[in-house]
Amino acid sequence: MALPKHLQNGLTPDELTFLAEEETIDIVPLFSMTRVRLLSGIYGPFTPPSSAKVPLWLALSLKRKRKCRIVPPEWLSIDRVQNVLKEERENAESFCSLPRRFIEISKVLLDVAQDDSMQPSLLRSLLKDLREVRQAKIRIGLQSEGVMRGSYLQVTNLTPLELSELKPFLVKAMGIMQSLEPRGDDDEDEEEGQ
């Protein structure tokens, strides 16, 4: 089909990572180059040791060619992540607010540029913990009674990636709930919706 089957349920993690790669990030170039004009903007000049702001995909591309050092975003410092993790554990009722592309960006940075972060293995395990704490909360949340009532769910502070993992299940569950609802309701609502 025009849209392959595995893409029909919403954005995939790969696609979300692609979007995350449009976010800008600081790099310290290891080579000199004048400014370059791309569709998304003009980047550079690249003159070590001054930093430059570029889209993440560009940073990763340079990094793979060993042409830059990537400056991890502030929110990806050990301190920050530790704090978030602590908050996340202490508050059972809601989720911490994270940067929208938190998971994707931290993952690609640790994959491609782990030598640019302080204590990558500690960071990696903190991120893993954070993800697991949140996933556990999601599981508990979904078990609570009446959570699917009315085909509606408030999911504030979950990131799009986390939601993309949940969405296929939730949409299916809601569809089943809906088919159990009394008929006639639909047509009425349809009118209202027009």
């Binding site: 089909m1 025009a2 849209l3 893409l7 954005l11 692609f18 976010e23 800008t24 180059m33 004048t34 400014r35 370059v36 004009r37 791309l38 569709l39 998304s40 903007g41 003009i42 995909w57 560009l58 591309s61 502030e74 920050r80 908050e87 009722e93 809601s94 989720f95 911490c96 607010s97 994270l98 940067p99 929208r100 592309r101 909360k137 999601i138 949340g141 979904l142 609570s144 959570v147 699917m148 009532r149 009315g150 085909s151 509606y152 769910l153 408030q154 999911v155 504030t156 502070n157 979950l158 799009p160 939601l163 969405k167 939730l170 809906q178 609802e181 639909d186 609502d189 349809e190 919706g193």
Partner: protein, 317 residues
């Protein structure tokens, strides 16, 4: 339309550029011819396209914006008691604020206004939206045209400079970056167009019949919807319907269970939205109400929030 035209409306580009007028000729010169016989001034200008001169002021207006930390304390705690289901905090809890003092900033780009966004980001937005909603969105022809013009110009520039012996190592490297980005943008356009095509074919008959929807489609899309409907119906007729009694040959029956042969988007499909603005309250089935406060995220039936999506107050995730 010319090589340099687009720079004028490019917020990132330096304001002084060569006069764009004579560039029409260049557009006509196809990549391959141009590469051999291009005048040096032409090549120079191509070079300055990929390597813009230093700007007077900071060219990155994003720089200041991005410095607003996502973790800063400017948190307006999200009030609005949740009804219906919330994934955590069932609403019976006395929990008042959902925010944890970690800031509302859910996304790096979230404070970014539509006008500040570059074309690639805009394209990403409309792609995400098209993927996330059951109904066909409005065809963003202007943006697509704009992006296409730029892609075409870049392709010509790349072809010309790549085969020019005087192109330096640094320029070759830049061209590689230009091409990498082009592939990204082309992918986005492809996926956007094909997502629409998927919906258009799925609801081709419905679209063909609903004249009030036609403004949502490009000319080519509408014609595709019509021709596809015809192709499909012909196929059904030749394969089966022609062998059935006359009264069973129609393509627009409604069955006893209310299901029509003309399939329509299911507006009850849940969508994920992030409220950029306060979108008031919605009434759920069973009469319960849910607040769509600024900064909150919901999985909710499309038909309950489509107007907020259309207004841009709610962003599809």
């Amino acid at each position: 339309m010319s090589f340099f035209d687009d720079e004028d409306d490019d917020p990132l580009s330096p304001p002084t550029r060569p006069a764009p007028n004579e560039n029409y000729g260049m557009r006509a010169s196809s990549s391959r011819e141009g590469s051999v016989s291009g005048s040096s001034s032409f090549l120079d200008r191509l070079r300055s396209t990929v390597s813009p001169p230093p700007a007077q002021s900071h060219s990155h207006n994003e720089r200041s914006r991005a410095s607003a930390s996502i973790f800063d304390e400017s948190n307006t705690s999200i009030s609005g008691r949740e009804y219906g289901g919330s994934i955590l905090g069932e609403g019976e809890e006395e929990e008042d604020g959902m925010g944890l003092g970690l800031g509302l900033g859910q996304g790096l780009e979230e404070e970014e206004d539509e006008e500040d966004m570059n074309d690639v980001k805009r394209l990403g937005k409309i792609w995400v939206r098209e993927r996330g909603t059951p109904e066909l969105g409005e065809w963003k022809g202007e943006l697509i045209d704009q992006v296409f013009d730029k892609l075409e110009q870049q392709q010509k520039m790349v072809n010309t400079l790549r085969s020019d012996p005087q192109t330096s190592e640094e320029e070759h490297f830049k061209l590689m970056l230009v091409q990498t980005e082009m592939e990204r943008v082309k992918y986005l356009v492809r996926s956007y167009v094909r997502t629409r095509l998927h919906k258009i074919e799925k609801f081709a008959h419905h679209i063909t019949l609903s004249t009030d929807m036609h403004h949502l489609l490009s000319g080519a899309e509408l014609s595709h919807a019509r021709r596809y409907t015809e192709l499909l119906h012909t196929h059904f007729q030749h394969s089966a319907l022609d062998s059935l009694p006359e009264w069973l040959r129609k393509m627009d029956d409604t069955y006893g269970d209310g299901l029509s042969m003309v399939s329509k988007p299911n507006r009850n499909t849940p969508v994920l939205i992030y409220c950029r603005k306060d979108c008031g309250e919605i009434t759920l089935e069973g009469g319960e109400r849910a607040a769509l406060a600024r900064g909150t995220t919901h999985l909710v039936k499309y038909k309950l929030v489509d107007r907020w999506i259309n207004l841009g107050w709610a962003e599809v995730l």
